[in-house]
């Protein structure tokens, strides 16, 4: 936490009358279907073992399974799901299935059953027929019987290799989890968090399109971890964003917006849990555009059409739930999206006179800044310094001036990651912006960040200190063809 923030009490959103942290319970396919399908598979295999796979009892159960699976797909947008097995767990669509503890043993048995046959993935498509279940049972039973035969113990059983049903697909895939990525290196951890956020956000957006309930749990974990590093390494995150590893993608924009929003909030001295709320709100601030792909053409620009546009988004978003704090913040920020800060929202929005909520104003700056530096369509992206100056021109008209100033100081007049030419003739990379408290008390240093020379010496020069006041930044420069940007670890 920056110095001046240490002296402020940690600020927490006032306990609201009804909003809980998150009241929405898990109705994902994983939760709803996971334990049930494992129990069903075990039941059918057990019955097949007693009566034989061709027996009418088995056929009866197959029929029941087919019906229950059809019911599971009803009212969901998923067209398929994938069951995955590892040595330790069972997953559906990449998410771990948590069994009621009493049923854990069943999961072990089913897991063993398939892994023994070198199958670790089963894809079920909508419309599984009873006959397909029957075929699966027969194939598994044959495979198990064949495995009893010593000679074929280690080979994948032919009956499973030739298994081919329209709505059930068996596969053996190479599965990895992320245990192996654990590292003590702080630099790698931070880079992993940023990269992980992009991957998980992309996955979340995909899930939103294809499933009824996507969980933001993994994004939340990463956002929490990122928060832990802000105090000492916020500048690194800014540098990572400025590397622009991936551009023009919605998930990248979402992650960047979330981070920028959290930076401003951190500078205000908000509590860590509040930063996470803000991050989660900001990262999903455009999900309505993902969920609802058809966008109306607006004929006449004005308050009414603005309201209508926002309402389309709000209506879509409301399906994701609204009675927890994050959902409420998300709904409200979407409701107020794009409205200039300096005038009260019209009567269509609120019967009372309200200006946009603090979070709406904050996210507006963050998202616009990111769009400016990413660029839209054929428009050339702006350099960070120009983007900041562009924002500043609308400060007081569209953007909250206090938040804008705070943002500019957080990002840095010369943002982290920029290559600059020093008055000494040397080139350097900006690695850290001046501390805001210092910048506030001494107005001449806000544009004097810490830079690292690119001459191979990796020498750090803090331009804010007295002894370096003979050096200043002349301009931001682009790397030439021969020059290589040193990469993320340079920021440390």
């Amino acid at each position: 936490m920056s110095q001046h923030s240490d002296t402020q009490d940690k600020a927490r959103l006032q306990a609201t009358g009804f909003l809980k942290e998150n009241r929405q319970t898990d109705h994902t396919l994983t939760k709803v279907l996971g334990p049930k399908i494992i129990t069903d598979i075990l039941r059918i295999m057990h019955t097949a073992k007693i009566f034989g796979p061709e027996h009418s009892h088995v056929k009866q159960i197959c029929h029941e399974l087919s019906t229950s699976m059809a019911e599971a797909f009803e009212d969901r947008i998923e067209e398929a799901f994938t069951l995955q097995f590892t040595d330790a767990n069972i997953f559906i669509n990449g998410q771990i299935v948590k069994f009621p503890e009493a049923e854990f043993t069943r999961s072990v048995m089913v897991r063993s059953m398939f892994i023994a046959q070198s199958i670790n993935q089963i894809k079920f498509l909508k419309g599984v027929e009873a006959s397909e279940w029957s075929a699966l049972v027969q194939a598994l039973s044959s495979a198990e019987a064949a495995k009893q035969n010593q000679a074929k113990k280690t080979a994948k059983i032919a009956s499973l290799e030739t298994f081919d049903q329209p709505h059930i697909k068996l596969r053996a895939v190479s599965l990895r989890n992320f245990e192996n990525l654990a590292t003590e290196d702080v630099r790698s951890q931070i880079v992993e968090i940023y990269a992980g956020l992009m991957v998980k956000c992309a996955q979340y957006f995909e899930q939103l399109k294809t499933s009824s309930n996507a969980s933001a749990r993994f994004m939340k974990r990463l956002i929490q971890r990122a928060t832990d590093y802000f105090a000492d390494y916020r500048h690194v995150f800014i540098g990572l964003i400025n590397l622009k590893v991936i551009q023009h993608q919605d998930f990248v924009h979402a992650v960047n917006t979330a981070l920028y929003s959290m930076f401003i909030a951190q500078e205000l001295g908000l509590e860590r849990t509040e930063l996470v709320r803000i991050g989660l709100t900001a990262i999903t601030q455009d999900v309505d555009r993902i969920l609802h792909q058809e966008h109306e053409d607006v004929q006449e620009v004005g308050d009414k059409s603005h309201f209508k546009t926002n309402m389309t988004s709000v209506t879509v978003l409301s399906q994701m739930g609204s009675t927890d704090v994050v959902s409420a913040l998300r709904l409200v920020t979407t409701y107020e999206r794009g409205f200039p800060y300096n005038k009260p929202l019209p009567q269509d929005w609120y019967s009372e006179e309200f200006r946009p909520h603090l979070l709406s104003r904050l996210v507006e700056i963050a998202r616009h800044y990111d769009i400016l530096i990413q660029g839209l369509d054929e428009n050339t992206p702006l350099t960070p310094d120009l983007a900041l100056q562009t924002l500043s021109q609308q400060m007081g008209r569209h953007y909250d001036p206090r938040l804008t100033k705070l943002f500019i100081n957080v990002i840095g007049i010369y943002p982290v990651g920029e290559m600059v030419l020093l008055s000494s003739g040397e080139k350097a990379i900006v690695v850290k912006s001046p501390n805001i408290t210092q910048a506030q008390s001494n107005k001449s240093i806000a544009h004097r960040p810490t830079v690292k020379l690119l001459n191979g010496s990796n020498q750090l020069i803090d331009l804010a200190i007295e002894s370096n006041h003979n050096i200043h930044i002349v301009e931001i420069v682009e790397a030439t063809e021969d020059e290589q940007h040193p990469g993320a670890f340079f920021f440390f």
Partner: protein, 613 residues
């Protein structure tokens, strides 16, 4: 080979280490059993309860011996067992006395290990275990698990190690052929080496790919407007000066956040707007349910002040759906929230808890007034129903009464019960009757009842604000001849105060000896005195009563003595003479003669003396 002393020492060391290891595992096992019991306690008592704190202290004491040998308590977590740092099982699901293994869900959530140091505080240990307990119970919200919960609990000393515990889904196409793990590693590589192979891979995937950056139209408009502007580049020094941050206003911003800045209000407005768009649509139906859920939750949690604000908002916005008539979605929702049982509960709360009353009164203002009115009036008028605070009920009545429904106060199903008035009247005494027309009418109604106590109480409240000439004429004057003397007295007093002229007229009529004779002496005296007070020459008329031959006899003795007394009070010499004469006359009844003598003695001792003589 013979055993050497080195072998013996080694063997002894190994045996000693084995024993130590066994001892360590035993201690850890014991600790986990204690943890199981502690978690049970947490289900019953809140954190901070002395029992919880003491038990936690006991748990830490248990570890004292352990920490003599070990620098920390390191535990690896699996779904059905716990292991030491060296992967030795020391506690299993079967051993646990709990029905459900406490560590099962945390393991599923990716908790790999935790480490408790010797200097952990009781508070932190309790926080850690309460998070585990909460996660273990299950049913955590969708975006939470053990790990996110532990993070929020902010543990300083206890170290947690967790993994993401998900695996790649090959359903995703965002990163081309790369699965999640590969995508992660590739992006990390690209950030580390912007010109490396990984960077090239990323470029190949995304260069030329359709942009998915698709902001809404108004954001695009703002973007276009900003990018076509020419941005004058400013010298850095000028920028630094222009964008200085004044930390005093950041405090204002923080205050805005902490105050909530009407978040619930804004949320409700956004939900109402969904309903406005198309109230029959599925999102609108869900929005209504959400609004209802929010309001019910507030009422259940006695957040009456906030609920009142939101009720007000709903009522304001109701007019947007006026065209729907009886199917106004907001009205229907409000009706379902403020059903009779809920209203009954709120009425009870308002009576019982003074602190909640002001907010509840605000709330009632936005409920269906007729319904509330009816329920309160019914409660007042039903003697079988307990009234905890009649003043509160009356306050509620005032809030919900309007010109349209006020006549309900006079409905015979209420006014027909005397308890209605016996409950209301004491309260009415304490309010400004002139401010409430309906109360005035209730009072008038009360006077119609044949109930002495009610009549008395009502008459005590007689005042110009509500006692119009009609009221006086129709309701009060008839009481001046009421069979109950107290009622009569009050009525007379009331008329005297309220309508002096009328009183005088009546008084003249009342001075008829026939009607006077049926009144008790106190009343006669009062009337006579007042009769003279009003017009002094009336004394002659009264005196004339004494002279009415044959009138004053034994039967009318009271009247006679009253008349005489009043006249003597005025030192009327003619009366004295008259009385002396009558006291001496045999035509006057004996008892009356005695009364006259006594009165004369009382008022005119010299006269009495003369008489004796």
């Amino acid at each position: 080979m013979p055993n050497t002393s080195a072998d013996t020492t080694l063997r002894a060391t190994l045996v000693g280490e084995d024993q130590q290891n066994t001892q360590r595992k035993k201690q850890m096992n014991l600790f986990m059993h204690t943890v199981d019991k502690f978690v049970l306690l947490l289900r019953v008592y809140p954190t901070g309860h002395p029992l919880v704190e003491n038990f936690a202290e006991h748990m830490l004491d248990q570890l004292k011996d352990f920490f003599k040998l070990e620098s920390s308590l390191y535990v690896r977590v699996k779904a059905t067992e716990l292991l030491t740092e060296n992967n030795e099982v020391f506690f299993t699901r079967e051993e646990s006395e709990r029905e459900h293994f406490l560590w099962y869900v945390p393991a599923m959530d990716g908790l790999v290990s935790f480490e408790i140091p010797p200097d952990v505080s009781i508070k932190e240990l309790v926080r850690f275990l309460s998070a585990i307990s909460k996660a273990s119970v299950g049913d955590l919200p969708m975006d939470d698990d053990t790990i996110t919960l532990l993070w929020e609990y902010d543990l300083d000393h206890i170290k947690i190690h967790s993994v993401e515990n998900y695996i790649s889904s090959d359903e995703q196409e965002t990163f081309g052929e790369l699965d999640d793990a590969e995508a992660l590693v590739t992006i990390m590589g690209a950030t580390a080496k912007p010109q490396g192979e990984d960077s090239k891979t990323i470029k190949d995937i995304f260069e030329g790919a359709r942009t998915t950056l698709d902001p809404d139209m108004f954001t695009q408009l703002q973007y276009n407007a900003e990018t076509i502007m020419s941005t004058p580049t400013m010298p850095a020094q000028m920028i630094a000066d222009a964008f200085r941050v004044d930390m005093s206003w950041t405090r204002e911003l923080v205050d805005e956040w902490v105050s909530g800045d009407n978040l619930e209000y804004r949320l409700l407005e956004s939900l109402i707007s969904i309903v406005r768009a198309d109230h029959r649509s599925k999102p609108a139906i869900q929005a209504i349910e959400t609004i209802s859920d929010i309001l019910v939750h507030m009422l259940d949690n006695t957040e009456y002040d906030k609920a009142a604000e939101l009720f007000e908002l709903i009522r304001k916005r109701e007019i947007l759906f006026n065209s729907e008539g009886d199917n106004n979605p907001l009205s229907l929702m409000m009706d379902s929230i403020t059903d009779p049982i809920r209203i009954e509960a709120l009425i009870y709360q308002a009576q019982k808890y003074d602190s909640d009353k002001p907010d509840l009164l605000k709330l009632f203002a936005y409920c269906r007034k007729e319904q509330v009115l009816k329920q309160v009036l019914t409660q007042i008028a039903d003697e079988k129903r307990t009234v905890l605070n009649i003043r509160t009920l009356v306050d509620i009545l005032f809030i919900v009464t309007n010109k349209t429904n006020e006549m309900q106060w006079l409905d015979s199903k209420y006014t027909g019960n005397t308890v209605y008035f016996t409950r209301l009247l004491p309260v009415i005494k304490t309010i400004r009757i002139e401010d409430h027309q309906i109360v005035q009418r209730v009072l008038a109604k009360a006077l119609e009842l044949d109930h002495e106590e009610i009549k008395k109480q009502t008459l005590e409240l007689a005042e110009p604000s509500w006692c119009s000439s009609l009221v006086i004429e129709k309701y009060i004057k008839p009481r001046m001849d009421d069979k109950n003397k107290e009622v009569r007295k009050l009525a007379i007093d009331a008329v005297r105060k309220l309508d002096e002229q009328s009183f005088k007229t009546w008084l003249h009529q009342a001075m008829d000896m026939e009607s006077l004779s049926f009144r008790p002496s106190g009343e006669i005296l009062f009337l006579l005195r007042f009769f003279i007070e009003v017009e002094p020459e009336n004394i002659n008329k009264i005196r004339d009563m004494l002279t009415t031959r044959g009138w004053f006899n034994e039967k009318r003795r009271t009247l006679a003595t009253s008349v005489a007394r009043v006249l003597l009070e005025h030192n009327d010499t003619q009366t004295i003479e008259l009385m002396e004469k009558q006291a001496a006359s045999l035509l006057t009844s004996p008892s009356l003669r005695e009364d006259y003598s006594r009165l004369l003695k009382q008022f005119k001792p010299s006269t009495a003396h003369k008489e004796e003589q």
